[in-house]
């Protein structure tokens, strides 16, 4: 069982790589270099700020785009191209296929983020000339971004298991935006009454909590991130990802592949 999942995952990774996804790293590298050089000319205080803000935001956005663009095709493309037929006629369970696809894309994003992280730290080194204590919070911020990717990948996979690529992209992107304001949504739900309150609260708790995973601004200002938050966020991301994958498995298990 695990070997099949591992094989599907590594094949998904191979597909992403050969699809020239990793070329985005070149664009990113250029962006970071340009930023570092330009910012190096400005006052000393805010260079670090700009590099971290820009770097982490770029990592987040690039990764989100990749997660969505590859994720939407994970299942629907295989169905459309009928490559799935020869896979499922083998002793591969449908749920193994879904889980394998998830790990493949998550792995791609992790590798991508790893290289980007190097880019951010190189730029940071360039403007600050030496690493500081506060830099470890940048690592935490990056870790949170990877957690965001896991959630987004699982969500896109879920949509891809029953919806067309275009709709999947729309849904996933919408959830990303709404999820970034999830804390506001919960506050808003608390201010309403009656039936609206139930619906709003329900929605507010279902929506992925991307806002808590975005610590870019505070890390840029060298604020520490509490250990408790790291633990809670990790658990939350794990659980939410599992939920979305379960959803995908359940949908896919009963789907007629016409």
């Amino acid at each position: 069982m695990t070997s099949r999942i591992a094989h599907i995952a590594s094949n998904t990774f191979r597909e992403a790589v050969r699809d020239r996804v990793l070329y985005n790293l070149i664009v990113f590298a250029l962006l970071m270099s340009a930023a570092a050089v330009v910012v190096g000319q400005i006052s000393i205080d805010i260079e670090r700020l700009v590099v971290i803000n820009l770097g982490l935001t770029a990592v987040s956005l690039f990764g989100m785009v990749i997660a969505i663009f590859i994720g939407i095709g994970l299942v629907s493309k295989e169905i459309e191209r009928r490559t799935l037929y020869t896979v499922l006629s083998r002793p591969v369970r449908r749920w193994e296929f879904i889980v394998g696809k998830f790990f493949g894309l998550a792995g791609t994003l992790a590798v991508n983020t790893f290289f980007m992280a190097i880019g951010v730290f190189v730029a940071l080194l360039y403007v600050s000339h030496h690493f500081q204590q506060q830099d470890r919070w940048v690592l935490v911020a990056l870790y949170f971004i990877i957690l965001q990717f896991l959630i987004l990948t699982a969500l896109t996979l879920f949509f891809s298991s029953f919806s067309s690529p275009l709709l999947s992209a729309v849904f996933a992107f919408s959830l990303f935006v709404i999820g970034s304001f999830a804390e506001d949504l919960r506050g808003f739900a608390g201010m309403t009454h009656g039936a609206t309150r139930w619906l709003a609260t329900g929605a507010a708790y279902l929506v992925p909590n991307f806002s808590a995973l975005n610590v870019i601004t505070s890390v840029a200002h060298s604020q520490p991130v509490s250990g408790q938050l790291v633990l809670d966020n990790s658990a939350y991301a794990l659980v939410y990802t599992a939920m979305a994958i379960c959803g995908a498995v359940l949908v896919f298990e009963h789907r007629n592949l016409k």
């Binding site: 449908r94 808590a212 505070s218 658990a235 939350y236 659980v239 599992a242 939920m243 379960c246 009963h254």
Partner: protein, 309 residues
Amino acid sequence: MSRSQRVTVIFSVFLASSLIASVLLLRRVDQVRTGATLEEVLYISSPQALRRLSLGYNGLLADIYWTRAVQYYGNKHHDGARRFDLLAPLLEITTVLDPQLLVAYEYGANFLAPKPPNGAGMPDRAIALEEFGILNNPDAWQLYYNVGFIHYMELKNYAGAAEAFARGAQRPNAHPFLAMLAGKMAEHAGDRQMARMMWSTSYQTTKDINVRANAAAHLRALQVDEDVTNLEALNARYQQQTGRFPSSFSELEAAGLLRGTPLDPLGQSYKLMPDGRVELRTPDDFPFIEKGMPFDYTPPPSPKILPSD
């Protein structure tokens, strides 16, 4: 059970349990993060940059910051806080993102200017907020009213108030009260009648439930002050007539000084104290009162001025 059914059951159970777990963890994360999103407001050194970054969606972003401001004030107030540090930045960012959001300026006058625990105690910043609003909405009479309001209520600057009201009165479609307030300021500055007029104007012209509730609380307090003053005067008359203070309202009635039992604005009868003073039964329900409180009274930390109180 077929293989497919088994998979369905197992994954459904996983789904349900992870759903529950995610909700529980979410609540934990919210606790750890309380106010974290709001505190990031302090890092926005340039609201103008934020407006540019919002790529034309500044209206929506303004609404989000506005909602945060309302919640922030409501939560802080509910907890009996004495500091509302983030209210000013929240309102400033909201108004930079959407300068036409008039209700934000109303909040500035009603909740940013007054002293804690009713507000943030920053009248100067509130006036600066209003002036920014006037710059962007020169014909909005409400903003001039706000300026005058702050001058009058918090800064006791009656001349400044009169001037602001006069400015506002000249705007097209200005509320008729503005001219009247400007005119009466000279003789009635500081008296209860002015205050009542201003709070009535606020009450009638606002569309925000919190601002309206605040105005209502002030109007009730003014009513109480007037009632207590009048009743204590009647007590003095009674004492002159009979040599002692009355112990019940029926005695006052019998003496022909009163008709019926006087009720406070919330419908409860006043208390006659043996030393001739008049007190409220539930002073906690009446923030802003200057009369009618027991001797050693301390008001509650979070005054009941919002509908949610």
